[in-house]
């Protein structure tokens, strides 16, 4: 067999194994709409851990992080900091959100806004914004899948056809499973990912330099500026680092799918314990960085940094191993992508269409609409993926810049009695408008500051001022003072 056939067969075998596991998990339980979206309440620590861990290992961390280590250098370190600090934030706010979810039977982020601020248009706006900014995240996964199939086929399958194949697989995967299945496929995905990250993170520097230490010494000698900030960029310095880490760590819990997954936890204690353990999981990302840094001197001049990891794996290992890494990478894209698609589709049907346009819809019709939306969203993301040259990391940063705008509404909603609906509504609109303006006019970073962070500050100020100027119409969640 040719190398191409071997590596592609390996990928198919790994993905096939994943789908089989998902299918077995899916057929045992009948799915109602609630089960389809939140898996029924009562995921324990293990399943919850897997769902949230699914968040860490996406194509972003696999190909994107190594891609930025290769093409940008030092600034890529923000990834280690932001994921760790995101769990610190989650430790404090997710247990409270969970309590409210149980009390008011909330399933989604829009439900939360609807309950706290009592305005269905605000809830619908939150829903539209959330779905909109899920698209770049989804696009990222599809681009990643395309890269994997393209490199593993030794360029035999072009990137665009590879992406089309991936999207078809993805939609089939989503229809065949559901969130419970996805959580179980996460097991396979994470085991493979950790094994792959460790073996290439240690193996590749060893093959080319004789170890990780010698690799960094060589790089520090040849390209010292690459290893610190702003690295190979002009404007990603320390201001960018601080503003981006703040913007993304505050925004982490604001992703509609993460917010929704919170409600699937068994208890607030589960969420706290997760937050204690999860940062340790980030350590393996360092091994992904090692691969990207090795590639800087070994495979210089790649047109697209996101190719770096797979290209150097292809040069360093036999084809079957490229296939295993590619298969792990494919699951790493498909698992989060299906969570994203499921969330976006149900949000659209349940929190936008039904309350605003068709209050008479039955649950059955909502489920049907959600299924149709899976296809629509896949096609939209595919369109963007084939028409964009943004790096994987910048796609994620765009998504973060959007969803982080929910942070003031959520946190002030939890802890500040004085916050009002008009304040929050205007704040989110101003934040999203700022992001759109800065990104579309190519001003991100804005004088060295991350655009999402600038928008978040404007959002906070407007929310606070307008809240103080408008009367409180809705009852707040009651605060308990403890000491």
């Amino acid at each position: 067999m040719s190398s191409r056939a071997v590596s592609l067969a390996m990928i198919l075998a790994v993905v096939g194994l994943g789908v089989t596991i998902g299918f077995l998990a899916g057929v045992r339980r009948k799915m109602s709409l609630e089960q389809w979206t939140v898996g029924g309440r009562g995921f324990g620590t293990v399943l919850m851990f897997l769902l949230m861990a699914g968040e860490i290992y996406t194509t972003f961390s696999f190909l994107g992080a190594s891609g930025w280590a290769y093409s940008r250098g030092g600034p890529t370190l923000y990834i280690l900091a932001y994921i760790t600090l995101a769990y610190v934030v989650s430790f404090f706010i997710l247990p409270e959100i969970w309590e409210l979810g149980r009390k008011y039977k909330l399933q989604t982020q829009s439900d939360f806004f609807n309950m706290r601020y009592g305005n269905k248009y605000l809830a619908a706006f939150v829903c539209v914004t959330g779905v909109t900014f899920l698209v770049p995240y989804l696009q990222l996964q599809i681009t990643g899948l395309g890269i994997i199939v393209n490199v593993a086929s030794f360029d035999g399958i072009g990137r665009t056809p590879a992406m089309v194949i991936s999207v078809v697989l993805l939609a089939a995967f989503v229809f065949a499973s559901g969130i419970r299945a996805v959580a179980w496929i996460s097991v396979l995905k994470d085991v493979l990912m950790v094994v792959a990250a460790l073996s290439i993170g240690i193996g590749i520097p060893y093959i080319h330099y004789g170890g990780i230490g010698p690799m960094f010494s060589a790089l520090a000698q040849a390209r010292p500026a690459h290893l610190t900030m702003p690295g190979a960029t002009a404007d990603l310095g320390h201001t960018w680092y601080i503003s981006t880490v703040l913007m993304t760590s505050l925004g982490f819990c604001m992703w509609p799918h993460g917010f929704g997954a919170t409600f699937t936890a068994k208890s607030p204690d589960t969420l706290r314990r997760n937050a204690v353990v999860m940062p340790l999981y980030t350590i393996t990302l360092a091994f992904i960085f090692f691969v990207g840094f090795t590639a800087v001197l070994m495979v210089p001049g790649l047109p697209d940094g996101d190719l770096a990891l797979l290209i150097i794996v292809r040069q360093s290992f036999p084809a079957w191993f490229l296939g295993v890494v590619g298969g792990a990478g494919a699951l790493t894209a498909m698992v989060p992508a299906s969570i994203l698609i499921l969330t976006a589709a149900t949000l659209f049907a349940k929190n936008l269409c039904r309350p605003i346009f068709a209050p008479a819809m039955t649950d059955n019709q909502v489920a049907k609409l959600a299924r149709a939306m899976v296809v629509v969203l896949s096609v939209i993301s595919l369109y963007f993926a084939t028409h964009s040259s943004a790096t994987l990391v910048s796609l994620l940063l765009l998504g973060y810049a959007g969803v982080t705008q929910f942070f003031p509404g959520v946190v002030l909603g939890l802890y500040w009695k004085r916050v009002t609906m008009p304040g929050v509504f205007a704040g989110i609109i101003a934040g999203v408008a700022t992001v759109a303006f800065l990104v579309l006019t190519h001003q991100d970073p804005f004088f060295g500051w991350s655009a999402g962070f600038v928008a978040l500050c404007i959002n906070f100020v407007i929310t606070a001022i307008l809240s103080l100027l408008t009367p409180v119409m809705q009852p707040a969640f009651e605060q308990t003072e403890t000491n």
Partner: protein
């Protein structure tokens, strides 16, 4: 249209009824908040102090070794915060 308005009014009434029986939102304890602040100081705001290559630690540039070390320390900080919060929860539970 009319039915939807009725439906909304009904929702509003439900909401008022539900919220009149308030859910306690706990403010985190000061100790837990302090423990949560430490990782932000160490990994985020202080970047200018540790963003350099030397001294290399275990073969890693200093700006890679530092955050890696703080990932473990963050976990420890949160473990401390977890202990603080559950001690408080227990005390509250006992009091009520």
């Amino acid at each position: 249209m009319a039915s939807s308005r009725v439906c909304n009014a009904q929702n509003l009434v439900d909401r008022q009824a539900i919220l009149s029986e308030p859910v306690p939102v706990k403010k985190p304890s000061p100790l837990a908040l302090l423990l949560g602040l430490i990782p932000f100081l160490a990994m985020c705001f202080s970047v200018a102090l540790w963003d350099r290559i030397d001294p290399m630690i275990l073969g890693l540039p200093f700006n890679l070794a530092w955050p890696l070390c703080w990932i473990i320390l963050t976990s420890l900080c949160l473990w401390g915060a977890y202990r603080a919060e559950s001690a408080r929860d227990k005390k509250d539970g006992g009091a009520s």
